[in-house]
Symmetry: C3
Subunit: 678 residues, 3 copies
């Protein structure tokens, strides 16, 4: 996409939802608030095409024009995420069939089978018209295809037929499939492809994993199809994006989807009031930035409150809206857009409030937004296109997320109830990212398909349950060539079909880990580590899982304090080639994880003054367009914080105050200091 | 209805359920116990009409005759609440279709679509025959139509068609409906009436509210239809009633239903043993009495135990049955009828025990019932038709109950789970009624349709979330004209279509409340009130919800003790015209509510000696047929209680002991003193 | 069946599940481990009959042959518990229809309607072929029909038709049925058999009970049919068994099923690590042994871990596998077979690990199994066919289990939620068995159909809610003739149709119990017994239920400590004829139950030195083939235990050490001493 002159700042805007005409008033208020962008159009197919084949644009043209006159750019969305009633009535079979086949009814959005060919033909006709209509409108700078797209859990006949076709292509013969999925088990092997049972009651772990991949592939294909369609009609300088609903989904492979986009975008909702520490924004930001190793857009984030009921209304404290905007920019966002401008007066999101309250008058939020917007007009050019370069990567495996969820390693309930995980792949990934965040060490996410891990000094690999031999070999080579890996239990255990390897665990990782194991145990109760080797205190224990590691070359870093488990190490480290692999055979408490990770980072030379900041203050670094280093100091607390500024002399961009190396700096409650080095 | 000579006392009686012939024995026991009434016939359509079009009466005639000979009157029920098997087999489509369309099967009672025209024709034929048969039987004094009628959650095609027709009548055009319900949202507006989606997956808050009204209208219409049918055939002095299953339902508008009845009736089940404090009976009694501002019938209440399993069997302590009967009479009941006479030996209600145990012999309950029955024969004429006149009203809004449940303001779980309210409209109403009960201040319920609030000095308005402008204006006028209102948060927030008002909250109430607000917050943790302004102690906090009230004329009575919320008052009072409006912007603890309410009552001159009674003793007042004041003193505890009697000299009706003004009186455990002034 | 030369020891073996050819390797390892038996074939219909009508045996023949060469016997299973895909595709209607009629899909095992006539014809053809094929193979010593058979909850049309036919046979006329089930209630009586409603929404307690019996009868009939089919084709010395999935099911009447078997078999899974105390094995062993009053087979038990997820992986501590094998033998097992040999690499039971881990190499479990196998080769002939003779019986009533579950007497939740029992028939039975186990008093289970209770000195009768008059008379006679009964509340309350008796409770037991009652109460809170009559300490209370017992001849042993309940005794004892009946009108704490039961046992002369062992040590007694007494001392703890050996001089079979009367003996952690008297 084209270089942006400044960060974009604005909101989603639905004039069509408002109870009375107030376009001029809204635009004037936006302009006064310093808005530079709005996102529109993605929610209201029924106005674009009120009846089958009748298209209307006037309702939107006047809004786009008014924005243009006020200097506010438009990102236009294709409105395919919610079916109009007439289309549902013509083709009720479009609704997504859930596993189990319960009947579905019209009413919720995002509930169609996006593979349905008739749905596709209606969507194609509309999107083509729409893009053609606005391709020459200079105020429309980009396109969002669909909205928070997911698989919608669809298992309609056409989805299943596509899946069987996919299996045919992937496995060639039923016999290959039977072997890969071990379908002799319970005598469920198939003789020919048309015998394939539907996924509704599938118990096969191979089937479940491949079905989860198929759901991801459906999302990837659908968005790629829409992106290509838009590209066919758009003006070349209009970018194409889609907005992820947060990150790290079970049925969306964001890394694959991003290949179809000019720029990635994310909807990030986060805690506020006493639950705002910047971490959710950092995790999602790091993930989204890593998809294309580039800057990204925040298409939606909290304005006043976010809630599908009225039981979780937490309007931000004074300063939190502003702190949030800089939080996003500090992770590499090039746009911050609220969802949304004016609160809706009816329906499911009545209490998902916009910048304006239901009275649509200026209010406390509008006042703070106006401060941000006008501040960004001034300092935004120093913040846009921030280049961030991290030396730590976290490997994200959607396959492992899914496969572990089918065979969870923890449960809040008894065995005879369904397992209700309290810890899982997701909590492990969050734990390591949160630990890095608390340590103020920037991290990227890395994907199995990434051809090159070597850009990172340290690679963190949580529970890589699903991996083919090639991926394990790539990890092993990374270590051998000098990389430092921190890896947890269950890594390398199952192959790409979710079959447990039939060589000694951890399979192809054995040389790199320096141990093998034949047994593992759930931990009925948390266990202490013998002698508290990391000085974390006796209350810091390990939980859920213990592999019975038998070191071959590895060194034990910690042992279980238990008469039975005590004979096996809990944590090991192995030198292999010129790198090291530190392995956690069990689930560490947060503080233990912090100490183990800090040890790995320190040995890799990745620590420094950033680890000495007061706990509520987080720092982010990058390089701006002027090739200057920028340091964000963000205070996520209601009290002022002090620290010694350790970098080169610079200036605090919002206040234009000089900040000298070695001087003690105070950052006010819920405030930020942004130092641009001189 | 005709004037009753005495309170009615008896039980439901199902001779047809008994394992062997024992009519004479039962009647003799009833007579000995002082019974004056039984209710029969409503449960056994299959005996009235064993085959399609064949009617039999003999099985019941002999029971009615035997009752007549024993001087026991009969209330006959129309047996339409449970389909006979043959009718189900002829018309399985009669079963109520639940939202979502899950298949339904025969077995449970009250599970038909009462709008089904074939059901109606069968019911009409049967009821007409039945009423005609007993119209000339002098022993049959009244008719109960149907039994504990509700909507049965039916969404059958005919119910939905009726709903669309209702929308057409109410809104005129689809465009009006789209506008009222904001159906542009997610592009779900309709072009014509036949596009209307079913309610199964409706997300529209307008749709949900109107559907809840339609379910109430269905109940109202069905019962009005049956009542009219009975009136067509009955003897004029036979009254028509129906028995509500308790009160304050989401799908029954008792106020509307009552318009079709000669007298209201309620089935009141309540706690026993250590959980009997008289409050449930008082709340339901106050509600039922308020429907027609008149005396009412208790058609069912606890005999021995009430339970659809055997896990909640709590037979009353000695004295509790008698205390319960007088509890009902003290609220204005003219009848107390147990459910039921003899315990059933099989089926769902095996453990919902009658006066007699399964052995059908005299027992502890029968002995106490006999004492009551014979006592009432003596003193009942002094207790029947008690006229009760209260000066406090509580506004009950079924619409607010429903609309708040769609957007609850509290939840026991996290945001990502469905909201499980721990406080809601119902708990608020119960809190204020319970507070009045504990204060021994009598209260009526008031309904939005009530043309005149001015009969009350104090009107309590909990969370009136749904109200049209006219109702809000009526409240405002009531204050302006000298009324005293105690109102809670969320009142006036949404209009009659559950759309949040787009004028500044609280909309048309703004002058009466003396403040406006633009923001509100859920309270993650309870908050104290700064300086404990009501002297309730620091442990008494406010919870769930806080509106950011900006006083315009109102005075702050209390502030939140919190660095952020502390800038807005929690409770305000405004003088408007010659009245006052006290407003709670948050959910008070019970003790805080007690103190705020007592303050309002005291300022309105509604307090006196009744507030000084020992806690377990409750007092109720009324005027009897002899135009004498009657004071009930009911002791809901296992220990004797003493108090100074503050009213004019009188006599204790059960014991005939004189009770003098100013004298200390002792009321025995689970006992009652009923003073009739001289 | 033929006399076994030794206990059988081995595992289930599924060569067809393994990822590569390793038959010779597996057999060599089994042989080295001392295996004498494998169970095979029951899981893989799709290999026996890969296409409709094409049968293959070669895949299994080579496995059977290899076993034969290694001296390992084979139990062959009929593979009817899991449908092949092709059969499902030909006849999807075979899948079991659940109550409520939700659609079912292929994927899970054990989900067919075993009454479906087409299923039966396919099963018949396959089983006949199979048995014929192996009837002359001398290495195949027995047949297991089906696998862990249950009703599969099937309510398919043919199942329902069979049920109606059964009702017709049992009740004769609809009128009789109406009367037995009290169907006048809610007017649900039927006029003719084709009006019978399906069970989906049945509320009738009579219906529910009879439907539960029908599900049991279906299992009995199906297994009897398969057993007869096998007998038609087998070699006469091949035994027929089936493996129960544990014991005491709601839909399996194990006592009736066992009549079709040559020997009973059970799959016993139990706690390990810190949750292994031998009790689960003892309870299931006692139950299975009691079915035919004979030795039995353990067809499946824990190898490494047992878990359908990976959240409950608890590999045994060192010694626990061996202790477990002797635990089973000490209860009368003649075989111990693990499920299974090699862990499966994919599918639902990936983590239900076999003796070998997924690497299929020797491991810790294999080493311990090898020790056991070779030890048993040596000492097994002294352990096989252990004859056990107990003097205490526990009456097991599947009907009472079911009927009480429809009307539970306890609930963890409030009344308005569905009752979630925390105590029920099953917990009562487990409590008394566990108490006996802790006391080291051996017990049998007794079934209502047992013609003779007199073999027991003490008969324990928990909550015999369902019983016809004849059974109650038999109990009464047992007492009158000198038996000692310990009976709990609810016994005798309902008749064989789940109708509460209409004579005074406890009906025909009244003479034997020496009391009657008309009332009972749930206990909202646990109550103490007045004066702690059993010296159990004040913290030991009674819960859930209290019958208001009115002694006629019985003596009160304990009273409730409560102002209301205190007038009725909690526990009574009655002398009747030459026996006694001790009755618990309430649910005792475990310790109270221990003291009451110990009192009964002591008075019956059933106590001795076994009650003085250290808590973790349990003793079992029997007589072996050499007519010698054998005493197992099993130490279920991680620390060594000591006791004085009180029986005649003997020798410890595993170590061949002499054990002298009166000498102090030490049993090592998780170890066993097996004394054969000289």
């Amino acid at each position: 996409m084209e270089l942006l002159p400044n960060v974009l700042y604005g909101a989603a805007y639905y004039h069509e939802y408002e109870p009375y005409e107030r376009l001029d008033q809204d635009v004037a208020m936006m302009k006064k608030a310093g808005f530079s962008v709005v996102r529109m159009g993605e929610s209201t197919w029924s106005l674009w095409e009120p009846e089958d084949g009748h298209f209307t644009y006037a309702w939107m043209d006047r809004v786009v024009d008014a924005m243009g006159k006020a200097g506010i750019k438009v990102i236009m969305g294709t409105p395919t995420y919610s079916l109009p009633v007439w289309l549902y009535h013509e083709h009720p079979e479009m609704l997504a069939r859930p596993l189990g086949g319960a009947p579905q009814f019209y009413g919720m959005r995002q509930n169609m089978d996006t593979d349905n060919p008739i749905f596709r033909s209606y969507a194609q006709r509309l999107v083509a018209h729409l893009v053609e209509h606005y391709r020459n409108n200079p105020n429309v700078i980009g396109w969002q295809v669909d909205n928070e797209t997911s698989s919608n859990g669809a298992s309609n006949p056409d989805v299943f037929a596509g899946f069987v076709h996919h299996l045919q292509e992937k496995f060639g013969t039923p016999q290959n499939l039977n072997k890969a999925w071990f379908l002799n088990y319970w005598g469920q092997d198939i003789n020919n492809w048309n015998e394939m049972p539907t996924p509704d009651s599938a118990q096969s772990t191979g089937y479940k994993l491949e079905w989860s991949r198929w759901q991801q592939m459906r999302v990837t294909n659908y968005l790629a199809w829409q992106a290509a369609l838009v590209r066919q009609y758009r003006r070349p300088d209009q970018f194409v994006t889609t907005d992820f609903a947060g990150a790290m989904h079970r049925d969306v492979n964001e890394f694959e989807v991003a290949k179809s986009l000019d720029i990635a975008a994310d909807n990030i909702y986060h805690g506020t009031q006493d639950n705002m520490d910047g971490w959710a924004q950092a995790e999602h930001g790091d993930f989204t930035r890593s998809l294309k190793h580039s800057n990204y857009l925040i298409t939606e984030t909290n304005a006043q409150t976010t809630d599908w009921t009225s039981a979780f209304q937490y309007p931000p404290y004074d300063g939190q809206l502003r702190l949030d905007a800089y939080t996003d920019l500090s992770s590499g966002a090039n746009m911050v857009e609220y969802w949304h401008w004016g609160s809706i007066h009816s329906g499911q999101e009545t209490y998902w409030k916009g910048v304006l309250s239901h009275d649509l008058e200026p209010n406390r939020a509008y006042a703070e937004v106006s401060r941000i917007g006008n501040e960004l007009r001034r300092i935004g050019p120093h913040l846009v296109d921030l280049k961030i370069s991290n030396q730590v990567g976290i490997l994200w495996s959607t396959d492992s997320l899914n496969a572990i969820s089918f065979m969870p390693f923890s449960s809040s309930g008894p065995q005879w109830a369904s397992a209700q995980p309290v810890a899982d792949y997701g909590t492990l990934v969050s734990q390591v990212h949160h630990t890095l965040y608390r340590l103020n060490v920037g991290a990227d996410f890395v994907f199995p398909e990434d051809p090159d891990f070597s850009r990172y000094k340290v690679l963190i690999i949580p529970a890589l349950y699903i991996a083919d031999d090639a991926l394990l070999q790539k990890i092993s080579d990374y270590v051998e060539n000098g990389g430092h890996v921190l890896m947890t239990f269950k890594s390398g255990f199952a192959n790409e079909d979710s079959a447990v390897r039939w060589e000694r665990a951890p399979g192809p990782l054995r040389k790199a880990t320096g141990f093998s194991y034949q047994e593992f145990s759930s931990l009925e109760h948390p266990l202490a580590l013998k002698g508290d080797p990391f000085g974390a205190g006796a209350e810091n224990k390990v939980s859920y899982w213990a592999e019975f590691l038998m070191p071959e070359h590895a060194t034990a870093l910690a042992w279980y304090d238990h008469p039975f488990f005590g004979r096996w190490p809990a944590i090991t480290r192995n030198s292999f080639g010129s790198g090291t692999l530190t392995y956690e055979g069990t689930y560490l408490s947060d503080e233990l994880q912090r100490r183990v990770l800090l040890d790995v980072l320190t040995r890799s030379g990745l620590t420094g003054p950033d680890q000495s900041l007061p706990a509520p203050v987080h720092v982010k670094h990058g390089t701006n367009r002027f090739n200057k280093r920028v340091h964000y100091y963000l205070n996520y607390s209601g009290s002022a914080q002090q620290f010694v500024y350790p970098y080169a002399d610079g200036v605090d961009l919002p206040t234009a105050h000089p900040i000298a190396h070695g001087k003690t700096v105070t950052v006010q409650p819920w405030d930020v200091i942004i130092v641009e080095e001189n």
